[in-house]
């Protein structure tokens, strides 16, 4: 059974409500992705104004999360959704939480950019930030793919994201080992290295949230809960 519903509901207003719910999560996804990209650019280009803007935008995602949750509660109460509609609403309900948290992680990265570049301590060794750029690109890719899969209810794309998440975790562990080496080589790197660890950890969380979104797509389409399973 797929949830790609080819016919409209007899009650047309229900179609409109589901469509608006879908639009909300797409809007939240675009906003979270833009914040993540801005945070990474702020770090890379030492753009402190952009970093501060990411911090301010976080509340916009929080607001959308609250609004979407309220819409979901009303939909459940009024329509008593079943089958594919119920699974779609549950997937959106869980998805908004992940997107809001992605916004939080983007704000963390922006804040780290302010700490690294926003004082007079000078720039860190550029090798230290290499891992942030690599992990940042991986996080952006994973999130873009997850949002596309969510938008199109694309189960195959969602499964691909879950399979590739292992590579993301491997890269995170490798970057921690490298950062440890920098700290051992020169204790003056400790301050920068800790900030870098926090940044890659935030990006690792973005990857995990993207994987969660992919899992909700599979639940929505196939009715199967694939969370907490090895790929």
């Amino acid at each position: 059974m797929t949830t790609i519903q080819s016919e409209r509901h007899i009650v047309k207003r229900f179609d409109g409500e589901l469509s608006r719910l879908h639009s909300r999560i797409v809007e939240m996804g675009e906003l979270a992705l833009a914040q993540l990209k801005d945070a990474l650019r702020a770090l890379e280009e030492k753009d402190m104004a952009l970093a501060r803007k990411v911090g301010r935008c976080e509340s916009e995602l929080d607001h959308l999360e609250v609004e979407t949750d309220a819409a979901i509660v009303e939909l459940i109460a009024r329509r008593c959704p079943l089958g594919g509609d119920l699974r779609m609403i549950m997937a959106v309900s869980k998805g908004v939480t992940d997107l809001e948290r992605i916004g939080d992680e983007a704000a963390k990265v922006a804040n780290i950019a302010l700490q690294i570049h926003g004082n007079d301590a000078g720039d860190p060794n550029e090798h230290l930030l290499r891992d942030v750029h690599v992990m940042g690109q991986m996080a952006v890719d994973a999130l873009e793919k997850a949002l596309k899969a969510f938008d199109r209810s694309d189960e195959a794309a969602a499964r691909e994201i879950i399979v590739h998440h292992r590579a993301f975790e491997d890269e995170f562990e490798a970057s921690l080992r490298r950062l440890m080496t920098y700290i051992m080589e020169d204790s003056r790197n400790i301050g920068f290295a800790i900030n870098t660890v926090l940044a890659v950890k935030a990006l690792e969380r973005v990857g995990a949230h993207a994987q969660n979104l992919a899992e909700y797509v599979i639940f929505q389409v196939k009715g199967k809960d694939v969370r907490h399973q090895s790929p």
Binding site: Q5, S6, E7, G83
Partner: protein, 277 residues
Amino acid sequence: MKPRERISEASFNREYAQTVGEITSPNSRIVCRNVNVYYGEKHAIQDISLDIGRNEVIALIGPSGCGKSTFIRCLNRMNDTIPGCRVTGQIVLDGQDIYDGSLDVVPLRAQVGMVFQKPNPFPKSIFENVAYGPRIHGLVSTKAELEDVVETSLRRAGLWEEVKDYLHQPGTSLSGGQQQRLCIARAIAVNPEVILMDEPCSALDPIATAKIEQLIDELRSHYTIAIVTHSMQQAARVSQRTAYFHLGRLIEVGETAQIFTNPRHQLTEDYITGRFG
């Protein structure tokens, strides 16, 4: 999105002849195999096979005219009363073929009680409504026994506390919900094994409906219950298994939670989500 293809009658028959889901029950009380019902030329239900388990509430859902009421009426041979109605196939209740020519339908209808859409108490007192069945079936021999059966049945139907001081008032003086519970008490009074309910709450308000649903849950420990309902939410609330009928066929049967969260057949999905046009 891709528009759905229209299904021709021939391909419908080919594609939907096979029921999706588990038709058998590990603890079956009623076993139906290849049941067909004809009203004259009209083939009303087609080749339905389904088990109904002990202490199970099974909900029968589907659009109007899909054959769900016709099907449950086969289970106590109520269709025998309709001129031109013919039933083929096999329906076995506790090992006994209920369409065996030698079977007496009167005790069968006590064994398989029925509650209808509209409460239909006899134009008699509350006491007599319940006492009538046990008396004519010879289930009691003394007045004390009869009073005991009436009280037990009214208690099981959750009505005793409300009517114990008015037992000699007419049954028709009760509210709609109370009348329906009186009809359930009347069905229980003759020691049935199975209770069939044909949209028992469709004429009731939400509070009376909730009381009947609570009662169905309590009765499950003693009886097998098959309920026809147009309310998907009611089917989801009261049943353990759900069967979806469409144009006289049993399309899908399964655990109620599965049917309402992840149905396997597209027709079931379309119906429960309100897309069925």
